[in-house]
């Protein structure tokens, strides 16, 4: 006989064992614990008249090349591009948030034009807010555009950390691309001496190195070139750009793993 009321009607301990309450004391529930389908690095640099940003078209599922035509550069407003690395479903969330922002801004009369600093600030607040709810958007963002006609380039990560620099990169790009880009733009102001062609070449070179060395990279990517023409923004997004002049002859020299004759 069980003598206390709270035990009445419950399974008998001597038959079913004591109640397992451990789930009540387990870890609090959190949201995204890890990204699933992911994009790799995004890179960007300034030049004398604008900004170049690139991100490849691969969405990986772990080490699986899951989707090979994922667009990761988002044009926001008329003169800003946001490059997104990290979780692709969160990328889509950001895409929707940006579209909602654009629509809300178009309500205003006269319509305000969203600038890169506006979008940078807005996205930083979203990323920081989500990390503070322990429900982060698992992304690294590169924002390129203009601030008072000058090139503007900024970075935000999933914690809401942010900074601006003349060359930025996420993921492997921060190790492999940054040294290449900083040869041209090391400190703020260096971009004055860099032409659009030089910047595009440097970005293409960096994308090549990334494809060689980053196992989650693809040799097909999108390239956004933002420049000012007569004070007006000109945004050109080149799609399906290929890594050119690949040279894999050194692959034969690599020994020590796999099935090899010697």
């Amino acid at each position: 006989m069980q003598h206390t009321q709270e035990k009445w009607g419950r399974p008998r301990d001597d038959v079913y064992g004591p109640y397992d309450a451990s789930y009540l004391n387990s870890e609090p529930r959190t949201q995204t614990l890890q990204p699933t389908v992911t994009g790799t690095s995004v890179i960007g640099m300034k030049f004398n008249n604008g900004v170049v940003i690139a991100a490849d078209n691969l969405a990986s599922y772990g080490s699986l090349r899951r989707f090979i035509d994922q667009e990761r550069l988002i044009k926001v407003g008329s003169e800003t591009v946001v490059g997104v690395g990290g979780d692709v479903s969160d990328l889509q969330t950001i895409e929707e948030i940006m579209e909602g922002l654009e629509i809300s801004e178009s309500y205003d009369e006269p319509a305000q034009s969203l600038t890169a600093p506006n979008i940078h600030s807005y996205l930083q607040r979203i990323m920081y807010k989500r990390r503070s709810k322990l429900d982060p958007l698992w992304n690294a963002l590169v924002i390129g555009g203009f601030k008072n006609d000058e090139p503007y380039l900024a970075f935000i990560d999933l914690l809401g950390t942010t900074y601006t620099a003349p060359a930025v990169a996420s993921g492997f790009g921060s190790y492999l691309a940054i040294p290449i880009l900083r040869k041209l733009v090391d400190r703020e102001g260096d971009q004055q001496n860099v032409s659009k062609e030089q910047a595009v070449d440097a970005i293409k070179e960096a994308m090549k190195v990334l494809f060689y060395r980053d196992g989650r990279a693809l040799d097909k990517y999108s390239l956004a070139i933002l420049s000012k023409k007569d004070g007006k923004p000109d945004v050109e997004i080149l799609k399906d750009v290929r890594v050119e002049n690949q040279n894999w002859s050194m692959a034969k020299q690599i020994k020590g793993f796999g099935t090899q004759d010697e």
């Binding site: 929707e96 579209e99 909602g100 629509i103 178009s106 309500y107 009369e109 006269p110």
Partner: protein, 249 residues
């Protein structure tokens, strides 16, 4: 209106013995005296236009827009009580945003018009509220093509090739009926809209007015926006020329 004063005009939720809801009809009166607005559904898109009477010289030119954007692909213009119109716009925006959040697609314009009409209709069946004093013209382009709807204070929503509302509607309708909507391009429709509003304004000549014209076309990427300044200027010149020709001829 012979039944005025018989007590059946005080409440929304009461029919008169001859089957009318007077509050709704009175709302229609508010519209009849409102500024003239036009919608044209042409070959490659839609055009919205409104005659904005300058009620005071103190008002800033180009401010207080009467045509508004609901979603990227949809615009709205209305005749009647402006504050009611703005409320309808706010409601329309909520509808369109809700659809986007739910389905990740742009809202089909027939659905938007139907939902907004349902909302308007609700304000005709409760005695605690009054109907909206506006005729709302909703126009846009979606995957199914271009659409133009006009919703009246009763909540009636009909699709149109050309729609007119407000003070000059009779004149405008006469002019609209002459257009060949299957052949008309949006750029031509902009000019015609300007011309027609100028014609309609002849009956109200003592007052100055501003012209607002917007469009959604396939060519501009299905985005609702005001027509370029240059096109608006061109349309005004065309309208004045045609008007002069009519007077002389």
């Amino acid at each position: 209106m012979t039944s005025i004063g018989t007590g059946y005009d005080l409440s929304n939720s009461v029919f008169s013995p001859d089957g009318r809801v007077f509050q709704v009809e009175y709302a229609g009166k508010a519209v009849e005296n409102g500024s003239t607005s036009i919608g044209i559904r042409c070959k490659d898109g839609i055009v919205l236009a409104v005659e904005k009477i300058t009620v005071s010289k103190l008002l800033k030119l180009g401010a207080n827009k009467r045509i508004q954007t609901v979603d990227k692909h949809v615009g709205v213009v209305y005749s009647g009580m402006n504050p009611d119109g703005r409320h309808i716009v706010t409601r329309s925006r909520e509808e369109a945003r809700h659809w986007r959040d739910q389905f990740r697609e742009q809202m089909p314009i027939p659905t938007l018009a139907a939902n907004v009409a349902s909302y308007v209709q609700l304000y005709t069946v409760y005695n605690s509220v009054r109907p909206f004093g506006v005729n709302t013209i909703i126009g846009g382009v979606d995957d199914e093509g271009s659409h133009l709807y006009m919703i009246d204070p009763s909540g009636k929503s009909w699709g149109y090739r050309g729609a007119a509302s407000g003070r000059g509607r009779q004149t405008v309708n006469n002019e609209l009926e002459k257009l060949d909507f299957d052949k008309l391009t949006a750029a031509e429709a902009v000019k015609e809209a300007a011309r027609i509003l100028y014609v309609a304004h002849e009956d109200n000549k003592d007052k100055d007015f501003e012209l607002e014209i917007s469009w959604v076309t396939e060519a501009n990427g299905r985005v609702h926006e005001f027509v370029p300044e240059s096109l608006l200027a061109e349309a005004k010149i065309y309208a004045e020329e045609q008007l002069d020709a009519d007077v002389e001829g």
